[in-house]
Symmetry: C2
Subunit: 344 residues, 2 copies
Amino acid sequence: MEKQTTIKDIAIALRLSTSTVSRALRDAHDIKQDTKKAVKELAEKLDYQPNKLALSLLNRQTHTIGVIIPNLDYVLSTMVKGIDEVALEAGYTVMVCQSDESFGREIVNTKRLLDSLVDGFIVSVSSETKVFEHIRKIQQKKIPLVLFDRVVNNIDCPKVRLDNVAGGIQATQHLVDQGYKKIAILAGPENLNISNKRMEGYLQTLKLNGLKVDNRFIIHCDFNQQYAYEATKELLAMRNPPDAIFTISDRMAIGAMLAIKEKGLSMPGDIGLVGFNNEPVTSLVSPSISSVEMYSFEMGKATAKLFIEMLHSEDAMQPAEIVIKPKIFVRESSLRIPLKKTKS
Amino acid sequence: MEKQTTIKDIAIALRLSTSTVSRALRDAHDIKQDTKKAVKELAEKLDYQPNKLALSLLNRQTHTIGVIIPNLDYVLSTMVKGIDEVALEAGYTVMVCQSDESFGREIVNTKRLLDSLVDGFIVSVSSETKVFEHIRKIQQKKIPLVLFDRVVNNIDCPKVRLDNVAGGIQATQHLVDQGYKKIAILAGPENLNISNKRMEGYLQTLKLNGLKVDNRFIIHCDFNQQYAYEATKELLAMRNPPDAIFTISDRMAIGAMLAIKEKGLSMPGDIGLVGFNNEPVTSLVSPSISSVEMYSFEMGKATAKLFIEMLHSEDAMQPAEIVIKPKIFVRESSLRIPLKKTKS
DNA sequence: TTGTAAGCGTTATCAT
DNA sequence: ATGATAACGCTTACAA
């Protein structure tokens, strides 16, 4: 790496002091026009770029946002895109660290970003994370923090999340409307909020419709195609198997679908299926899979906006919580009764 | 952001000089045991973290790698994962910027990362990029640079890329072996190397097998499902349409597939289809799509390794070029003749 | 209108 | 075994 041009270089070349150059560069009112001109011209010529490190050291801010996410799947990639877009606009650079769904790596990443003196954190926790000391540490240091997507209840900070209960309700109610009566759920890890909330919606809806809750039909498994495949095989092997499955992610829906096909059952006839996330793949497979859209890109943008707002508000903001409304997209996998009209 | 504990704080508390504290912290041989112990204990207690900014300013290195990629699709996400893994291991943090296939954004990102004083660049160019002044600028500043995946011919630096010609050959030869005679190609943008190389493999293979090249069958379109869909519709509407299509990405294969299904044609019977990237989706759709695996994760790791190597080698390395061998995975969309034996 | 000096947090060099 | 000082590149009081 070659030496960059510094203010000092310009100062020496022009026989000025560094402070004069500094001020000339920023168009201070108390600098002679000629001087300004000379300085600016030389700066241009030498391709002068202010050293961000020095600035950061001085101002104690790096204009960098640390983003910690559990992985880079479709949903998170899309969210990061949204975050990135807004952050860039606001003059911030984003540093993305994946924890790979590992608690240990999440801690390491937090530490790294803390060391890197990021101006703040935007975090979605890993599915392994059950203890939140590392997050608390961020708060103790009074560093701005926004949680998104996979938020944590007992951490007090601004949050952006999906209305997961509503998502669970939409999916389940749709299945009920289609005449399914024995609806199973492939939920995610038990400690994960989004998992429980989607399940809560599921349970509420069953009760609301007078359907009985069958505990055999509630299965917790990792966000993972393979696990979902195996769980579904077990479901279908039961004496009195479900006639519909709601999976809380599309990857899981794919796994379920493979198991259903393998068993020779048809969708939506023998069994109904609804996924979550509305990933492009849902409309590519056959039958296409109904799924709940969570507006990831918008969510990413909202998160970054909230974060920037927080950063700019001098005093501690009262923790806002932005809740995005999901929307089910009905496709072949669950559509037994033709829809009459597009209903809301 | 609260004030961090500094060496000075410790020095004052212990009535020592900052230099003593600094050395004690790093276990210098010429510091009294008692002093070391006291310093370390207090550092621990006050949760002292060295200020990276100050270190970076002093040492002129940020331990940060700037990664510029055109988007965050499946392939690139996977590659970034690989890069990340190796970089972390080596003590580097990665700053990922997406150019969104836009030349303008690529330039902006380059500038931003340059300003951020990253220690080096790992770059895959956007599909719009035809001029490379911004890349040259990196080199002029003598900042380490590695190109990967979408490399550029007339830039002289270490590169990691797929053997795209081989990929094109494998795909095309497989179709020929399956008895297809009128093979079309959906190639990517014309200025993109990977596009041209895959096409080169396609052309070579046609010639090698004595098949004539039909220019109507060579279509350049964006890496995009929609364009591929439309291009395929055109292909199928021709008087003498192709009996097989090789698309240089899986997203394009999906687009082609939709057009083929819409036309009521069957795969692999009426028409054969081979994609590129071997994304998970290829085995999820029906019929499953044959595709060329490019080992993205390995490629990411290889890239980061080469980069780190470059960084650590004092003098300018002679530009290495790592070439990854692709491998076709045959699935239903192109398999008319049952495979006899797994042939390497 | 311009220059001087201190400071951001750290380390390396040279005293003591 | 420890301390003083300068330096990394920049800004900002304060002087001149």
